[in-house]
Symmetry: C2
Subunit: 351 residues, 2 copies
DNA sequence: GTCCCTGCTGCAAGCGGTTGCCGCTTGTTG
DNA sequence: CAACAAGCGGCAACCGCTTGCAGCAGGGAC
């Protein structure tokens, strides 16, 4: 009779432990869990009971090795501090969790190098990828899309399934809103030149404005955050336009803050519309009128479609999927002032 | 001579492919990568070259199976839409990436059930866990902490390594700031009762206030978001206090909005301080004075320490680690008005 | 009663790495 | 020159689960 060594680290039970307890072979245990109906009902029941008693949980790593099914997807984001993504992330997370998938989040910090690294780390362990606002080239994206099912967010890449918001329609809504308020010139404050969304927003605005007989100007590019907006406000100070459409809400918020600091009143002197409807748009004073993107749905739809592709659906890679926009009217837009909007000096003189 | 079937899915190369190419055994290839020095320098070089040529990348799944080292950690967050976490996430992500670890983010959506599920899904595949503002019981946390290295954030749990901000000091800073502005009563607007941070903030405020001869009141609990703050403002409308310390910035922002809507002026009539210094604190009008938590460092430190524990460091589970707070003075606090702050009706009468 | 088919279970070979142990080469030592 | 140690590479057994294939028993058909 030998003394059992104390089983130091109680390793989690495996299918073999369950098999022994239930008096069957390991393969039967495996099938009992992954192939319902393939195993006799009462045998299955016996196995299930034994597993329960032992606290068995199937090891996803071990399962993944032979099958490749890791039940994980990656969501890669160009800049996780951008509030634009918060709801997207949540929508994605919810959709993934519902399907029993685990989400791997990676932040590229606006660097294509870091993006590549994150991608390389993720690819071997995930079944699919959501690439949000990638900073990589189209061809690099197409390349990696060959290795794993992928959905590109906020960008249209030929031959890769893409999901975007209806930027043209959004820009048109903004133009119409401004037109309805009597403005006759719209200044577009641009975001990063590398941004696909920036390009399409500007082009669409021009077309829509022309249709309504409005002029357009363009200012920028600016880094799309609050500081960038303050910079833009400063640049525009000598000749503040009456109507501004900003590349995104952060920029718009920065512009409002910059103008306010110069005693230029929004919306009395200058009307501003942003893009995206991030949370802070509703917190700033005055509350920001904006073109809302269905952020939660964007994340959810991306993951949903990705999972569909993983499960064998034929992706529609030719045309990007488009989600609708909505004009959220708040307090940063008003009728065009009769006189030209005030410059800093005339505003100061008014006091 | 047989016709090779077209190798349909070009499976990624394995150590066996590399071994064949380099003319060595697979085990040598394995060692060449994971055990530097164990293999002859030029052999290693040859292997490295062959691997390079084939585009070999070691499969983390396969590596993880025998070793258990997955190079992944999980970060589980009670509510990912809470802006409080944004910088924490980023700090955590950065620290993880730097150490070559992949971060798995999960949102518990304020539900202990979902938190458990996320945990159960994560545990088998990660080497460690950061649990932020858990909604589970202390004993449940201790239980899971036995299964994997773990760090608890924003909460002190006995016997589990914890990381918190210096709430007592923060509350004291707020009390002193109010005292210096001539206020003699501080109203604390409370967050969720289940919140560990809420309890300690309130207790610390009371002590600090007593030390400066100030009175304290307490209002709440409220759900800690903007809507909750607006509710609080509404509840306080009949007798607005002169100084308010809110459980967190979101609540403070809601209070400011609520009061402003009632024509009560912040900071002229009421001074407000928040907690956390989230991004929006700097966006609202007036800009919010707040007790800043080092959010980025919080996330970074948590991951850093977690990795240390994973690598064999003895965790200090007895006392929670504490990160300092800082008073960020902005525009939501001012000297106490001579008369009692205006109620809604008197404010209306003033016009 | 024999044969075949069907339904269920077990065997064993992987999936792609890791690692304890053994054996072969060298170089060193007495 | 024999004995020995150190350095290096290979063999083979895992890690926990999946799955093609084979074996076996029971039921129905002939």
């Amino acid at each position: 009779m030998t003394v059992e060594p104390p089983s130091l680290p109680p390793r989690p039970p495996t299918i073999y432990d369950v098999a022994k307890a239930a008096g069957v072979a390991a393969s039967t245990v495996s099938r009992a869990f992954s192939r319902p109906g393939r195993v006799n009902a009462e045998t299955a029941e016996r196995i299930r009971t034994a597993a329960q008693a032992l606290g068995y949980r199937t090891n996803p790593l071990a399962r993944a090795l032979p099958t490749g099914r890791t039940s994980m997807i990656a969501v890669i984001i160009s800049d996780i501090t951008n509030p634009f993504y918060f709801e997207i992330i949540r929508g994605a997370q919810a959709a993934a969790a519902e399907a029993g998938y685990t989400m791997l989040l990676a932040d590229a910090q606006e660097s294509d190098v870091l993006e590549r690294e994150a991608l390389d780390r993720a690819i071997p362990i995930v079944e699919g990828i959501v690439l949000a606002s990638s900073r990589m080239s189209d061809s690099a994206i197409r390349m990696t899309a060959k290795q794993r099912p992928m959905i590109v967010l906020n960008r249209a890449v030929a031959d890769v399934p893409s999901l975007v918001t209806d930027n043209p329609h959004g820009a048109r809504q903004a133009a119409e809103h401004f037109a309805g308020l009597g403005h006759n010139t719209i200044t577009y404050v641009a975001g990063p030149e590398a941004s696909w969304a920036d390009g399409i927003r500007w082009r669409s605005l021009r077309e829509a404005a022309a249709d309504h007989g409005l002029q357009t100007r363009r200012s920028g590019p600016y880094t799309p955050n609050v500081a960038g907006g303050e910079q833009a406000a400063s640049d525009l100070r000598h000749k503040p336009p009456s109507a501004i459409l900003a590349y995104n809400d952060q920029l718009a918020i920065g512009i409002i803050r910059g103008l306010t600091a110069m005693d230029i009143v929004v919306p009395d002197d200058v009307s501003i519309i942003g893009f995206d409807n991030i949370l802070a748009a509703d917190l700033i004073t005055p509350r920001l009128t904006t073109i809302a993107a269905p952020l939660h749905a964007l994340g959810g739809t991306a993951v949903h479609n990705l999972l569909a592709i993983i499960n064998g659906a034929r992706p529609r890679a030719s045309e990007p999927m488009v989600l609708p926009t909505r004009l959220v009217e708040r307090a940063s837009t008003a009728r065009r002032p009769r006189r030209r909007p005030l410059t800093r000096t005339s505003a100061a003189a008014r006091e």
